[in-house]
């Protein structure tokens, strides 16, 4: 008889086995659709993962960030404009400049939210709302219809991209791979590095960190800026898929990223899993709409990721324990 803790440890493996079985079954039923859904799963997961990490890094150090949506939109806008105006410098240079511009714009937005929350001690929900409203308004106003930018290349991993079932997973835009590398780095940094320990301490009990000589405010600024640059990559991922800026193109992904963060219980690998699950629903609904399956109006399929988000917020949100100092400005004694 396995002890309860052992049984609990088996759950993820059991789940993984179920998922694998389901994929194989789906593939033997409809191979093309299954491959497409898996490819889209990874593509849709990437911005959710980076957005979720943005929220996670901020909140782990004590700042609640609901402005991820706005940061992504600003990034996509800045990146598109930068790439568009530097298109003459060649595809690679133009894309790199665009990515940097997007990351910097979102990072600065993060610093700004940090300033509101840390120095002005503003309500953090309001600071995030300000960013979201500003981003939506400003990018719509300043966007110039008809501009274009170079298209992102597709990178196929040799050998893996030729595999059956999972082949399409390994044929993605370059930034998608970046997302999966970043999540691994953040996981190890958060739980093994000095920065990570201090970040967690500052998010739980800032005065404890202060009394051992950690600069609480500085660390929060740094984290909001780093987190912003990750939201920047998330925004550029949308641009990577669309190749052109659209008004309101984030379409709620920045908010779903918050649900992903909760689903992942403030752990990077949890965010990875949450991103993949939601990415899967996204891929599924896109494929179902594309196929016009089952004679059901496509809008119903479009709802799937949002329904799932609500379910996550209702169930996972209850059990996820946020850092104790999240949302509370730090005041020195």
């Amino acid at each position: 008889m396995a002890s309860p803790t052992n049984t609990k440890r088996l759950i993820p493996w059991f789940a993984a086995a179920l998922v694998l079985a389901a994929i194989v079954a789906a593939w033997s039923w409809k191979s093309g659709d299954t491959e497409a859904v898996l490819g889209r799963t990874v593509r849709a997961a990437a911005p959710l993962i980076l957005g979720g990490l943005c929220g996670l890094i901020g909140e782990r150090s004590g700042i609640v960030n609901i402005g991820i949506e706005g940061q992504m939109l600003i990034s996509a806008f800045a990146g598109f404009m930068a790439s568009s105006y530097t298109a003459g410098m060649g595809t690679l240079a133009s894309l790199v400049i665009g990515i940097l511009a997007g990351m910097i714009a979102a990072a600065l937005t993060g610093t700004f939210m940090g300033w509101c929350a840390i120095s002005l001690k503003m309500d953090q929900i309001i600071a995030g709302t300000v960013v979201n409203i500003f981003a939506a308004g400003f990018t719509s106003y300043a966007f110039i219809q008809g501009r274009t930018q170079p298209t992102y290349p597709q990178w196929s991993v040799p050998v893996l991209a030729d595999l059956p079932i999972v082949g399409k997973v390994f044929s993605q835009g370059p930034l998608t791979y970046v997302a999966f590398v970043v999540v691994i780095i953040v996981q190890f940094a958060l739980f093994r590095s000095r920065w990570g320990l201090r970040t967690r301490a500052v998010g739980e009990h800032p005065s404890a960190a202060d009394t051992v000589g950690i600069d609480v405010l500085r660390l929060r600024y740094v984290n909001m800026t780093i987190a912003g640059s990750l939201a920047g990559i998330a925004g550029m991922l949308l641009l990577q898929s669309a190749s052109v800026f659209n008004r309101g193109m984030t379409n709620g992904i920045g908010f779903i990223a918050l649900a992903v963060m909760l689903f992942g219980r403030y752990r990077p690998f949890g965010v990875l899993l949450g991103g993949l699950v939601l990415g899967f629903f996204n891929g599924l609904q896109a494929q179902l709409q594309f196929r016009q399956a089952f004679d059901i109006p496509p809008q119903f399929f479009g709802m799937i990721p949002f329904v799932f988000t609500i379910a996550v917020l209702a169930f996972a949100g209850v059990s996820a324990r946020p850092p104790a100092a999240a949302g509370v400005p730090y005041e020195k004694e």
């Binding site: 093994r192 590095s193 000095r194 320990l197 201090r198 967690r200 404890a208 009394t211 051992v212």
Partner: protein, 504 residues
């Protein structure tokens, strides 16, 4: 020969309108424990904050290890070998003991923290100084006494040879306090100099080598502990003679006010915290509830005051069944409640003294007229209670959160006892309160009794139980294991019952 590790001369600190520290001298030698004794507001914290570099002294000099020292801030103080254990622990709950200890000075190997080295140094330190702690344990799962050891380890890890303990026993049970005193002796034996801030005379006498008494921002006495007496120190600290034996006449118990029968209730973790409790309190008597903390005292008080649901059993107050009554219904029967956690359950810190004094009556006439508050009546009530109960506050409009612990408690006592007619439920009423206020609060409880109220006094301090109670009830694991007249009880007997060693 003694070696000086810390020497302060003429430290002075002024705040606008207040001379917080007036030319204070302090010496600390290697391996010595110096008690810093004083009431709340005597200037102990200001002094310590100057030593630790939080405040810059306006005048005065300091020497550390014989060298002149100018401390620019806490980080500098730590670098110069000082360690401080704050009254409110500075520990990160979800992190392990080892992570908490090394936080801010983490050993590294490559990019990552060297967890092995961290655990190893914590283990070494705890062996060297006799502080038994598991480095891998998560801090929030540990009892308060052990958390405090983690705080001490933090200081030692940073190489402290001067340790400042700020009211370390305020949050501890008597048993944990004894362990702490033992730890302090051990640390001193290894050469650490300790400044021990407290207002508990028993602890000063038990553990210190010398004692420095402060009052009104100045040192009013310094002596070797060996020649000091409790009465002498208390008089120095308060500025007048203090009566330790509470003056009270023989109780004249009347009819039963509180009647509890077969009470069962669960705690916040859904464990059975009260297991078939039956007890009675008669009017005109003080019943002391003794027990090691966490044996159901909190749940008992909460069920009696309507703050916790009861699983089964009945509670009757003045003949009325209040088993399922709301806190306000119970209050209407003339029950006063002095809660254990005054910051959390007794006061609204951001409200004024006046508003806090009507928290239990604001809805009644004359404080409320046709749904609107009558500020004049509220102010009159506040003026009267502040005067009657000697609350030291700049004004009745002052935020209650800025008052000292003793004065906060007086605000609660004034509110709860001034209207009480039948029953007072007081939980740890003098915890973290200075001697002068303790004396006053004790007098108030006795006078409530003499006016015919029944008093249920829950306290972790056996001294308090023995000096006040007419009858003693002992709780152990949610059960009443002893119920006896105070006159017949001995400390040893009650102590054994508290430990669950014998059945009464």
């Amino acid at each position: 020969m003694t070696t000086s590790v810390l020497r302060a001369r003429g430290l002075t600190k002024r705040f606008p309108g207040v001379l917080a520290n007036d030319s204070v001298d302090l010496d600390l030698n290697r391996g010595e424990i110096v008690g810093l004794l004083g009431e709340n507001g005597a200037g102990k914290s200001t002094l310590v904050k100057m030593l630790f570099g939080v405040y810059e002294p306006d005048e005065g000099t300091m020497e550390i290890g014989g060298e002149p020292a100018d401390i620019s801030g806490p980080a500098d103080a730590i670098a110069k070998g000082m360690g401080m254990v704050h009254q409110h622990f500075q520990l990160v709950g979800p992190l392990t003991v080892a992570d908490n200890v090394v936080l801010g000075a983490e050993p590294r190997s490559g990019l990552f923290i060297d967890e092995k080295a961290a655990v190893e140094s914590v283990r070494e330190l705890s062996e060297k100084f006799g502080l038994d702690v598991d480095p891998g344990a998560v801090v929030e799962d540990l009892p308060v006494g052990v958390q405090q050891r983690v705080e001490i380890l933090k200081a030692l890890y940073r190489g402290a040879d001067i340790l400042i303990l700020d009211e370390p026993s305020a949050v501890l049970t008597p048993q944990e306090t004894d362990e702490l005193l033992e730890v302090m002796r051990g640390l001193a034996a290894t050469g650490v100099g300790i400044i021990f801030i407290t207002h508990k005379l028993r602890e000063i006498l038990a553990v210190t080598d010398r004692v420095v008494v402060m009052r009104g921002g100045a040192v009013v006495g310094a002596a070797d502990t060996a020649g000091s007496t409790q009465e002498g120190l208390a008089e120095l600290m308060v500025g007048r003679p203090v009566i330790f034996r509470v003056e009270k006449d023989q109780a004249v118990p009347g009819p039963t006010v509180l009647y509890v029968q077969g009470l069962v209730a669960r705690d916040d973790r859904d464990q059975r915290a009260l297991d078939n409790i039956s007890l009675q309190v008669r009017s005109g008597e003080i019943v002391g509830v003794a027990g090691v903390e966490g044996n159901g005292q909190r749940e008992l008080v909460e069920t009696l005051t309507g703050l916790r649901r009861i699983t089964s059993g009945t509670i009757t107050i003045d003949g009325e069944d209040v088993t399922r009554a709301s806190p306000r219904d119970i209050h209407r029967l003339g029950v006063g409640h002095v809660p254990e956690d005054r910051e959390k359950d007794g006061l609204v810190s951001s409200y004024s003294v006046a508003d806090n004094l009507v928290l239990n009556r604001y809805f009644k006439k004359p404080f409320s007229k046709s749904g609107l508050r009558d500020f004049a009546a509220i102010a009159r009530n506040a003026e009267k209670l502040v005067a009657d109960y000697g609350v030291a506050t700049p004004a009745i409009t002052t935020g209650v959160g800025t008052l000292s612990g003793g004065n906060k408690q007086k605000v609660i006592v004034a509110r709860e006892l001034s209207e009480t007619t039948s029953l007072v439920v007081a939980s740890q009423p003098t915890r973290g309160v200075d001697v002068g206020s303790i004396e006053f609060i004790h007098e108030q409880l006795v006078s409530a009794r003499d006016q015919g109220a029944g008093v249920l006094l829950v306290s972790a301090e056996l001294d308090e139980i023995f000096s006040l109670a007419d009858r003693i009830v002992v709780l152990y694991r949610g059960r009443v294991v002893g119920d006896m007249p105070a006159a017949d009880a001995t400390v040893e007997q009650v102590g054994l019952l508290m430990a669950g060693a014998v059945d009464a």
